[in-house]
């Protein structure tokens, strides 16, 4: 499996994250029921499903964002490159730098564009000089396809950008800490179609370096950007497979109902 040719291919078959028997409870609500899923390295995995099906909750398990909710309980094992991320030896703060996250609503800090991108590297002490930090900011903004638009106003507030630019700024911010996995929670739901197209194009480029997990409401989006698709329904993972297969030849009748618009 692990020969050199496979490593260099974009569509890798190496698993970045392996989740086994994941259960999530919010107080008395059983939000995620026994989910097993493998996230491939350097590929885009889409989570689809109707509202409230648990796809965002599961996404937030992958960087332990659910830890910040007092009533939330996560069981099962989630391994990233073999290491259980819920192990006591894992610092969730460090994990979140390695597993970047982009949120539904663009949420730049009310600081300058530069400071938005530089914040992560700064708090993790990733650079030793200003020049190095400048370099990281520029690289991150370039990879987020935003450099050309903002290079002359890096000191302008990030909140002054348009919605699509803000979302790309948030992507630049999360890749500035050079994460290995990028989680995106409906990154385009607050954007117009043109900005959505730009972000989708960006996601396709990012998969060369990261393993991307995207939660989306739009099945077209899942079909456009992802290589693998997981369909969640009522807290369970109903079907998981190649995107092409899920959309053209679903095995589970519930998946078929959802993608043909009968439920959801």
């Amino acid at each position: 499996m692990k020969d050199i040719r496979m490593e260099s291919r974009v569509d890798s078959t190496v698993n970045k994250i392996e989740a086994r028997h994941v259960q999530v409870h919010y107080g008395t609500t059983h939000a995620i029921k026994d989910v097993n899923v493998d996230i491939r390295d350097r590929a885009v995995t889409a989570f689809i499903g109707p509202s409230g099906c648990g796809k965002s909750t599961f996404l937030r398990c992958l960087n332990r964002m659910n830890d910040t909710i007092a009533t939330c309980r996560v069981e099962g094992s989630i391994r990233m490159e073999g290491q259980d991320i819920y192990d006591k030896s894992v610092d969730p703060v460090q994990l979140r730098a390695k597993v970047g996250m982009v949120f539904q609503k663009p949420n730049p800090f009310p600081k300058s564009i530069y400071d938005n991108v530089a914040y992560g590297p700064r708090i993790h002490g990733m650079t030793s000089s200003k020049a190095e930090l400048d370099q990281i900011v520029e690289t991150s903004l370039r990879r987020a396809a935003l450099w050309g638009e903002v290079k002359d106003r890096l000191n302008a507030p990030g909140t002054g950008l348009s919605g699509g630019q803000q979302q790309r700024l948030c992507i630049a911010r999360s890749i500035a800490t050079s994460p290995e996995v990028l989680l995106m929670d409906e990154p385009c739901s607050a954007l117009d179609p043109i900005a959505t197209a730009q972000v989708e194009e960006l996601i396709d480029e990012l998969r060369a370096d990261f393993s991307v997990v995207i939660v989306t409401h739009s099945m077209q989006q899942a079909a456009r950007v992802s290589q693998h698709t997981a369909f969640f329904h009522l807290g369970s993972l109903v079907e998981y497979g190649q995107t092409g297969q899920i959309f053209t030849n679903p095995k589970d009748p519930r998946t078929e109902s959802y993608i043909t618009g009968k439920i959801g």
Binding site: V93, V102, N107, Y119, I123, A176
Partner: protein, 431 residues
């Protein structure tokens, strides 16, 4: 979907011109009209009473903002004044000579009566002038000194000259002497800077608010230095870190209760704890500031929590998402964004604390102090207790001074509230 097709509305068509319906509409409009009238009346009443209070204070207080002065020439003879022993020199005799020179035709008794026109403090002003310029010894010093309170009142028209002589504090001979001074152009009524720059005094013409300003300044410094960090710390813990359980609910309820506890209770607490137990200096701004800090803490905690709560969760998520720790989230993002709200709440709490009187009375900050406190450990008065002391004093001059001091306190309050509003407007952020 199938349900919708079956649910057809079987009611009769509603008659929009039904008189009963139109009557209900009218009734609704009338209710709205009277609600508006009620609101306008309440606001007018509130504004009316405010205007009444300020105008009555101004009417009695404005006279304290000027002080009648008399220009005198004081011969500083080397016979009575010794440069080596300025404080032991015979300043009373010097003043007597000055008065005698002004009224050459008066006898000894007449001069004694005329000398009462000058404030008791005049000799000290002359002394201080000589200390500042020793070359005056042997020469003549021309100086403006305040007149004593009865004559100040008379010059301001508050003494009725037609009252029988034995019913007023100034006798006919003194009035005559004063009028002759006025005729000679020696009487003036400049702005009373002494009201702001002098410390308290038994003599109204010399009494000022300097001691109270400094006391209040120390109070606020101590109060701010204690209440702000403790209040912000408590609010951050409760809002960002504390688990939501019975204990935190209990604490929250009690903080809200503390905000409603009468301030005199805090005064008693301070008396028992700070003075009796810790043995801190009585009547000092340190103790007063600690007491006011206790009083303003609940307000600051509540305001800070509200400000922290107003910071959108998306900012917290964003910071957590790039790997910031909880503490970094709070100190890098949430607190800076909440700071305008925190400062507004703190200033309002301080403005509340600055007017507190009862707790200060209990810890002895109503002492009669003729000099301003040098450190927060010295006994001092504050503005509200100074007002309390003056309101209690029998001299006529203190009536207008009390009102004037209240106006000064109100001005400071309005300025602090204005600052809070300005901060809120300037830094308010919309999400």
């Amino acid at each position: 979907m199938p349900d919708m097709a079956q649910s057809s509305d079987t009611r009769a068509r509603f008659d929009w011109t039904d008189p009963a319906y139109l009557e209900r509409i009218l009734k609704r409009r009338r209710a709205e009209f009277w609600l508006k009238v009620g609101g306008v009346v309440s606001i007018s009443l509130a504004l009316g009473f405010l205007a009444l209070m300020v105008s009555s204070l101004t009417a009695t207080g404005y006279k304290a903002f000027t002080q009648t002065h008399v220009t005198i020439e004081v011969p500083i003879s080397a016979e009575h004044v010794d440069e080596a022993d300025i404080f032991g020199s015979k300043w009373r005799v010097v003043m007597k000579e000055a008065v005698a020179q002004m009224f050459p035709d008066l006898d000894k008794a007449g001069l004694k009566a005329a000398a009462e026109i000058l404030s008791d403090g005049a000799q000290y002003m002359v002394r201080d002038a000589v200390i500042a310029d020793p070359s005056l010894i042997g020469g003549v010093l021309t100086i403006d000194v305040p007149v004593s309170d009865p004559f100040d009142q008379m010059n301001k028209g508050l003494v009725d000259r037609t009252t029988a002589e034995d019913k007023r504090r100034v006798d006919d001979a003194q009035i005559l002497a004063f009028d002759s001074l006025a005729a000679a152009g020696r009487i003036s009524a400049p702005l009373n800077w002494g009201l702001l720059t002098n410390a308290d005094s038994r003599f109204p013409e010399l009494a000022g608010l300097k001691g109270a300003f400094i006391g209040t300044g120390y109070l606020l410094m101590v109060c701010f230095a204690i209440a702000l960090p403790v209040g912000i710390g408590a609010a951050i813990y409760l809002e960002e870190f504390a688990p939501r359980n019975r204990m935190s609910d209990f604490i929250e309820v009690n903080i809200n209760n503390l905000a409603a506890v009468p301030s005199v209770v805090f005064g008693l607490l301070a008396l028992a704890v700070f003075l009796n137990w810790f043995g801190l200096p009585r009547g000092s701004p340190l103790v007063g500031g600690l007491t006011l800090a206790l009083i303003s803490l609940p307000t600051i905690i509540i305001a800070t929590r509200a400000a922290l709560k107003a910071v959108p969760p998306s900012i917290r998520e964003a910071a957590l998402g790039v790997g910031a720790s909880r503490q970094q989230v709070v100190f890098h993002h949430v607190l800076p964004l909440a700071m305008p709200g925190v400062m507004t709440g703190t200033i309002l709490a301080m403005a509340h604390a600055i007017g507190e009187t009862a707790p200060l009375l209990l810890i002895g900050m109503n002492a009669f102090m003729t000099s301003a406190a040098a450190t927060p450990l010295d006994s001092a008065t504050a503005l509200p207790t100074q007002i309390f002391i003056w309101a209690d004093s029998p001299e006529r001059g203190f009536v207008s001074r009390t009102s004037a001091a209240i106006l000064v306190l109100l001005t400071i309050l309005v300025m602090m509230n204005g600052l809070a509003i300005w901060l809120r407007r300037r830094f308010e952020r919309r999400w």
